[in-house]
């Protein structure tokens, strides 16, 4: 009897263990295979499809046509809403899809095949689109119906991902309806003065905003941005450069739509309107020649050696000059500091000047920037950043024939109030080998910005 009890008890324990093992093991779900595309083939170009449309009409596609294209714009930044834009080698078209997060399924670069039968062509203010039907609930304003989400897979087949369309480079005057829904790139453009530093869209009231983009060679186009766009609150740049965008129209109005602010590359100096803004300019012509440089806000401060920058004139051109020659100083350091520059209301600021050296034996002229110099008489106590500039050198006997331009030195990494300083470092000790007495001449110091 006792033996049997033990048997039952042990089988009970075994049973308990089996139960524990059974409940402890949750089998992992098998995962579906990677998507490998479709073997469908297109039989119509997008240009061919577009040619079926008559402005203001709605056409239902009755044949088994298939177009193929690569997605050039999706809704990842919400500037394109409930639509994707696709493009093949002939043209582009906008497809209205009733869904959000479309970029997860059809990100930019996805090859898609669209089975057109039973889809509808139409235009929204002359912008040709593809949809699922026509909403005539407002008879005066019939509208394409976006393709409902449950129908995506029925009409749209995905091919490979990560194809990239190189935007077509065009000029303003080349923008025409055949480029609708195409990715275009336009060089040498900038925002109109009144539209610089403004937000792309109205993120607060969720309204679209048209900003004017101008070309250096004349002409303008709207850049339209939705208030729902993720970058709506970003500010438009002041500079000049290029823009990549999807071309769109609203009736006769030409519009560009960007996918993201990285489509706008404008860091150069402006070319239209008043051009660039001059923040500082000095040609020394109004200063008194052959005296210590003073006036126009300049600070002329000898650190060691007591030598001031001089104003000199040659051939009716005045300039600043400094040299350690004949000073007898074992070390000579002198600062020439521009008046304070405020960068708050400008962008893409550029510093330029020109120099000439004479009797070069190793003295150095350098240009520095500081944002914490207090304007006092001890500039060496502030923190200065050396700027990369081309400074004339190497004329061992006499002066060079030409002024050497410094190149455009970008100040865009600085903000707020700043100072620019020239710092001369030379020496005129007894030992000829330690003499560094190069003469530097400086002229046409200029800071411009947008």
């Amino acid at each position: 009897m006792k033996k049997r009890n033990r048997k039952i008890a042990s089988s009970a324990i075994f049973f308990a263990c089996a139960l524990y093992l059974g409940t402890g093991c949750y089998k992992k779900f098998d995962e579906p295979p990677q998507y490998i595309g479709t073997d469908i083939k297109s039989n119509l170009t997008i240009r061919g499809l577009r040619s079926m449309h008559f402005t203001g009409n709605f056409e239902k596609v009755l044949d088994e046509f298939i177009i193929e294209g690569v997605v050039t714009a999706d809704d990842s930044h919400d500037n394109f809403y409930k639509s994707i834009v696709i493009q093949d080698s002939t043209a582009g078209i906008t497809i209205r899809l009733d869904g959000s997060g479309l970029y997860n399924i059809y990100p930019v670069g996805t090859q898609v095949f669209i089975k057109l039968k039973d889809l509808w062509l139409g235009d929204y203010a002359k912008m040709i689109q593809l949809g699922a039907g026509v909403d005539r609930s407002d008879p005066t304003f019939p509208e394409l119906i976006a393709l409902p989400q449950p129908l995506f897979d029925r009409y749209i087949k995905k091919g490979m991902m990560n194809n990239f369309i190189i935007p077509k480079t065009v000029r303003f005057d080349q923008l025409n309806d055949s480029l609708q829904s195409c990715l275009v790139k336009i060089n040498d453009v900038e925002f109109a003065v009144a539209d610089t530093g403004k937000t792309y869209g109205d993120a607060i009231n969720k309204l679209s905003v048209n900003n004017i983009i101008k070309s250096c060679s004349g002409g303008s186009v709207y850049l339209r941005t939705s208030g729902f766009a993720g970058f709506a609150a970003a500010k438009t740049p002041r500079g000049n450069g290029n823009i990549t965008a999807v071309y769109s129209v609203f009736r006769t109005e030409k519009q560009l739509l960007i996918r993201d602010t990285s489509d706008v590359q404008m860091n150069g100096l402006r070319c239209t309107g008043n051009g660039a803004k001059i923040l500082f300019s000095e040609d020394f012509e109004r200063l008194t020649a052959n005296s210590n440089l003073t006036g126009n806000g300049w600070k002329n401060i000898p650190e060691t050696g007591g030598k001031y920058y001089q104003v000199k004139a040659t051939n009716n051109n005045k300039y600043a000059e400094i040299s350690a020659f004949a000073t007898g100083e074992p070390l000579l350091v002198s600062w020439l500091i521009l008046p304070m520059i405020n960068l708050a209301s400008s962008a893409n600021e550029v510093l330029s000047f020109q120099t000439k050296d004479g009797f070069d034996n190793g003295a150095v002229l350098q240009v520095y920037a500081s944002t914490n110099y207090d304007g006092g008489i001890t500039p060496w106590k502030a923190k200065w950043v050396l700027l990369k500039a081309i400074i004339s050198k190497g004329n061992g006997s006499g002066f060079g024939n030409n002024w050497v331009p410094s190149g455009n030195i970008s100040l865009s990494s600085f903000t707020g109030n700043m100072h620019i300083a020239f710092r001369y470092e030379g020496a005129d000790p007894g030992n000829i080998f330690d003499k560094h007495t190069t003469t530097f001449q400086l002229d046409d110091v200029k800071i411009v910005g947008n």
């Binding site: 009970a12 579906p32 997860n104 409902p148 449950p150």
Partner: protein, 855 residues
Amino acid sequence: MLKLFWLLASLYIMFSVSAQLLPPKKINKNKFIDSALASQMKDDIVYDLPVITINENERSETNTLFLPSILTAGRDVFTSAASFHFGALRFRIRGYDGAWSSTQINGISMNNSDDGNTQWGLWGGLNDVTRNTQLLPGIRTNDFAFGNISNNVRIDMRASKQREQKRFSYAFSNRSYTHRWMFTYVKVMNKHGWAFAFSGSWRNAIEGYAPATSYRGGSYFLAVDKRMANNHLLSISLFGASLENGKQSSVLEESAMLANTHNYNWYWGYQAGKKRNANMARSHQPVLLITDDHRIDNLTSLVTAIGFTTGEKSSTGLDWYKAADPRPDYYRYLPSYQQDSVVRTAVTDAIRNKPDIQQINWNTLYDINRNSVEKINDVDGIPGNSVTGLRSHYIIEERVTASKRINITSVYNTMFPSGISFTGGVSFQLQQSHYFKRIDDLLGGEYYVDWNQFAERSFSNDENSIQNDLNRPNRLLGKGDQYGFDYFIKSNKASGWAQIASVKKKVDMFAATEISYSNYFREGNVRNGLFRDNSFGKSRLNEFTNYAGKAGITYKINGRKYLYLHASFLTKAPLFDDVFISPRTRDTEQENISNETVQAIETGYVWNSPKIKLRITGYYTDFSNGMNVSTFYHDAYRSFMNYAIYAIDKIHFGTEFGCEIILSPHYTVTSAAAVGRYYYNNRQQVTISADNDAYVAERSVIYSKNFRVAGTPQEAYHAGIAYQSGFFYLNLSGNYFRQNWLAFNPLRRTYTALQGVVPGTDQWNQIVSQTLLPDQYTVDLSMGTSVKLKLLGSYIRKTLSCNISINNLLNNQNLVAGGYEQLRFDTDTKNIDKFPPKYFYAMGLNFSVNLSLLL
């Protein structure tokens, strides 16, 4: 096919085994021969109210004719009907919520202090050892606790209180599980004072009644009793149930039409050829109970118990970030969303031709995750620490509640020679619940980010606002990582109670009172980017003192007829999730916090004769100052809004009737009815605030007066006939349900929602009126028998019993078990059909066959 085979096989066993019928066992209600039927019901949410046993402590007085008190006079026809036949429609006794009933095992309360509900799942599958159950309805004398106003259940799982048995049983069903194997071994107390009990079961289904509802559950029970010196009985019981099952969604009528069945479940989709359910429920919360039962003398006992419960309960679901809603019944994906008839037809056709569109498309979710190479900057808040990889846009999240609970309770019982008994007790409950989310599956991606996408939408300029945890910003998450919300609710409760009852020749009387103190607070473990100052750390301490009292009198007309009147008054502390407006993100509380007050009275007449058993009860219960919080998307504010509702007053009154007439030794007829009226009798107050910034948008009134309490039919009727011959029995019953109301969306009953709508118009009535679900009926059948098997030429004799229960015999597929108006309303168009109600449908024909072999 397989199911059919099993069914036929069981029927074959039942009818073809030629065996002699056993002499009648001690069974007084044949339909309860085996509780297998009951165990099935439990899994269908409604717990089977178990057999009511004769009160063991009944002590008769020798010198007077003692009339047994009615409250312990055996099983009640009404309660049986309610538990076995009304459950399909989610009938609730007197319309009360689950928190108004209480359950104790070995003296320890099994009610969760967070939501007040009994956690039936803790001992699911342990049917053999939960038979020793006592049920006290409503406001009665109670010798184990003060009790709640609804049912009070006491289960005695102590080893020495089980019947000696070695039993193996197998059940086959088409309900939540397909197979159940159960083994129970009980050794009653031996001469050394030891008793031992073991039970274990395994339940599983690849697919239950609803599509893709898999089921896998193992349960265990171990108990040892030791009789000590000085009349102490020391008991230790350990039990637990580990369960994982697929859940079923509520259903839109439109989806059901498209799917051509009400048995539609959008929670699943095919993955690698198999049905995968996104919404899985998991739980495993073992319980350890230690009880000391001290019989001080013949008339006095002191029972002291301590209980420990710990473990996790969770449910999974889809979570997504900056991606399309993956739920196939999202309103924009349904044909009705399309205004144009041609497009609507096209969508309808597409769904009908490809039913998978109505299911989760796992392939698409995986594709998206596998192609989303994204760069996250400043990972873990370290500047310059950027990580590039496949960022999951869809994941399976697991919402977890990990709780720990300790209960200590002590009950003293004594009886004076005068017939007066005194019972008193104290109890303490300490509970800590940890609520958090965990990544269950990245669905092909490499990481998820601990960001709040709703914050990103509303506060796009503040990059801190999107952080779910500012203490660990930009955290990348892998499988098993905790994320999102993470907080503790820590609660304590202490109570003391006393009861005096007198049992006299003609009159029984009792009075009882309870006083309790409880407190709780929230402790956040993460600093939410939206609520930097009130999400992390401890909230204030909420403290409540509550009182309760009850009294009753029973007049014994004679030994068979009784009249009784009971009344109760109590206050109840609000539950934490009715106080905290959005505990997931912050510790903001309702502006008006108050105890709920309940006044209840019931009166009844009982007639127990050899041929007729009858009970009729009338009750009237008044609830006032209830509280509730719900959170939902508000189209006008374009945000999730928290509706903090208070001053909820309700009245529940009605009649319960149960009658059993024994026509002949073979035939018995039963009938039962519950006719109630449960409604809100005032206008509730609501404070509406935004979930994202706690901005209080409105304080207003919900025009809720006379709206019906939903979630149960208010009228249910039962008529049955039972046949019994030897050990064969058969029960056939019909059940009819009326007055089942749809849960209403408070938003539609506010001043703002009705702006611009002309009162009295069809549109007005459509928005305002509450929907009455249609009258419905079911037919249930159960039968069973026991046989004695002779094996090996009658050397081994075993008893085999077989029971079959079939519910909804007519296979009515359109039984609405309940439903709710979606908590969303288009305030622009005021079109209620844009977000139509969702329904729960009851099962069509469902059965269970149980075979039990006594070894």
